[in-house]
């Protein structure tokens, strides 16, 4: 039986798709059969970030509507045979998603995969609630900035009331907080919320801190999940995050101000 994880946030542009791609790749790299699904019908990005945009034939909506089978629609990642992508439709809209339809697809995927990662769209409307409905775990992504934190807080409230587990009175979704685009320099200057501030407001299990890094944009331009860029801080932080998800206890890196020596300032980092 597969574990279903939703990557969600409320606020747009905080790093859900970047995280979904990195997280799914991280699980696959550790030997788990993983599929990542783009729930952002009409505004798909996951295929770009995964680098498979030129191989999309059928999409999630095609499968739900019975126009194509799962086998035909899943795109196998070229770098790791454990990883598959189910892209979103670009021409349809969110009304094409139904709770029963999504449930059937997830049931079918559960037979062959260990992990199903659901990349949620922004907002709290149908697309987002559909992505979280069947989740066992939720990774709530937030930037250390006031509007993102408030939106994440709203999303956490919704997770505890609109999921299938909530409706059935089952054990609630396991919630994890992932702080992205963290910059210790800006925190030090008082321009950005500190980890403590964010934790105080959201009170969630912190599964990772991803530092602000140019490598994220470079990776998405190249269609490579940033976790594969082992020289980048963001890539390494994502690796730590996957390990923590799988049960390892690791200290959070890249959260303290680095005093750069002359060589550090010359060569960046």
């Amino acid at each position: 039986m597969a574990r279903i994880i939703v990557v969600t946030s409320g606020k747009g542009g905080v790093g859900k798709t970047t995280t979904s791609a990195a997280f799914a790749m991280g699980l696959a790299e550790r030997g788990h059969r993983t599929v990542v699904i783009d729930f952002d019908v009409g505004l798909r990005n996951l295929d770009l970030i995964m680098g498979c945009e030129r191989r999309v034939v059928y999409d999630f909506v095609n499968v739900i509507q019975g126009e194509a089978g799962l086998r035909q629609s899943l795109i196998k990642d070229k770098r790791n045979p454990n990883l598959f992508v189910l892209p979103a439709s670009q021409t349809r809209d969110k009304d094409a998603l139904t709770v029963e339809g999504v449930g059937k697809v997830l049931d079918e995927l559960s037979e062959d995969f260990d992990f199903i990662v659901c990349d949620s769209p922004a907002g709290i409307e149908k697309g987002a609630t559909m992505a979280m409905y069947y989740a066992d775990d939720a990774i709530v992504v937030s930037n250390p900035e006031v509007s993102s934190v408030r939106d994440s807080d709203r999303m956490i409230g919704i997770l505890s009331s609109k999921s299938r587990r909530a409706e059935r009175g089952e054990e609630p979704i396991n919630e994890y907080l992932l702080v992205t685009r963290y910059s210790p320099e800006r925190v030090h200057k008082g321009e950005m919320l500190s980890l403590e501030d964010v934790q105080e407001i959201l009170a969630l299990n912190l599964i990772g801190v991803i530092p602000e890094s140019e490598s994220v944009l470079n990776s998405s331009n190249a269609g490579v999940p940033v976790i594969l860029d082992e020289s980048s801080n963001a890539g390494q932080a994502y690796n730590d995050m996957v390990d923590r998800y799988l049960g390892e206890e690791l200290p959070h890196r890249f959260i303290t101000l680095q005093k750069k020596g002359l060589l550090g300032r010359l060569f960046g980092g």
Binding site: D151, R154, I201, A203
Partner: protein
């Protein structure tokens, strides 16, 4: 089943209608006396305090403490008066058989009974008393998240964790908040002027007792972030350090 073309499958995807249970917190007007002039003044005062709250708001008329089982002679006028003040009466509660018939003629719904009513009128033990018999407090242990609403009906509310900005907590009785409060707190919501707010870390967006309120900007700065007790005296909110 004929082959459906791609065009029509989108429309057939979701059913056109769905019936679901909705949950709403609706202001309830308790009527113990049919003095329409007094009611007119009372409604005018309520609306003046929270005009946006009552504008086009649904309202339930509670007759459980009305001393007679006979329909009120001026009930149609009372219903009209409520509309005149901008509210929309949607139903009655705690009404006798005859009163329910009367309400039906005016196309008002009969709301579900309160748990402690047996289908008969409940005679108030102490008439004109604002506080009902003691019910155990509602204790909330989890943080109240942005967008969530909690209502402790007929009792006190105890919050062991925080209240986020954008969340709303209400009680007929007192509110005791042990975590940081960044949302809205409304105590004594059914005209219980004796209600108080006890808060260990005050940063609320809005505080109110029996409808008298203050927004964050108007809170006394010396109490922000600290332990404070709020009470109502002479129609004004009083703040004291705890």
């Amino acid at each position: 089943m004929p082959e459906t073309s791609r065009k029509t499958t989108v429309e057939q995807a979701t059913p056109a209608f769905d019936m679901k249970a909705g949950h709403f917190t609706v202001p309830t007007l308790l009527i113990r006396d049919d003095d329409s002039d007094a009611l007119d003044e009372f409604l005018a005062n309520q609306v003046a305090k929270l005009p946006h709250f009552f504008e086009q708001a649904p309202l339930v008329i509670d007759l459980s403490q009305y001393p007679s089982e006979q329909p009120l002679e001026n009930f149609p006028m009372i219903v009209g008066m409520i509309r005149g003040h901008g509210m929309i009466p949607v139903g009655v509660r705690g009404a006798s058989q005859e009163q329910r018939e009367h309400a039906r003629l005016l196309e008002l719904a009969v709301m579900p009974r309160l748990r402690n009513q047996q289908g008969e009128k409940s005679v108030p033990a102490a008439p004109k008393s604002a506080s009902p018999k003691h019910r155990p407090s509602l204790v909330v242990e989890e943080p109240v998240r942005s967008g969530q609403r909690i209502y402790a009906e007929g009792r006190d509310l105890v919050l062991l964790a925080g209240v986020s900005s954008g969340a709303e907590v209400m009680a007929d009785g007192n509110i005791h908040a042990y975590g940081p409060v960044r949302g809205r707190m409304l105590a004594g919501v059914r005209e219980n002027t004796q209600a108080r707010i006890f808060c260990r870390d005050m940063g609320a967006e809005l505080v109110a007792i029996a409808g008298r309120y203050r927004v964050n900007e108007d809170l006394p700065p010396r109490h922000i972030g600290r332990s404070v007790q709020i009470s109502l005296q002479d129609n004004a909110l009083q703040f004291a350090s705890l």
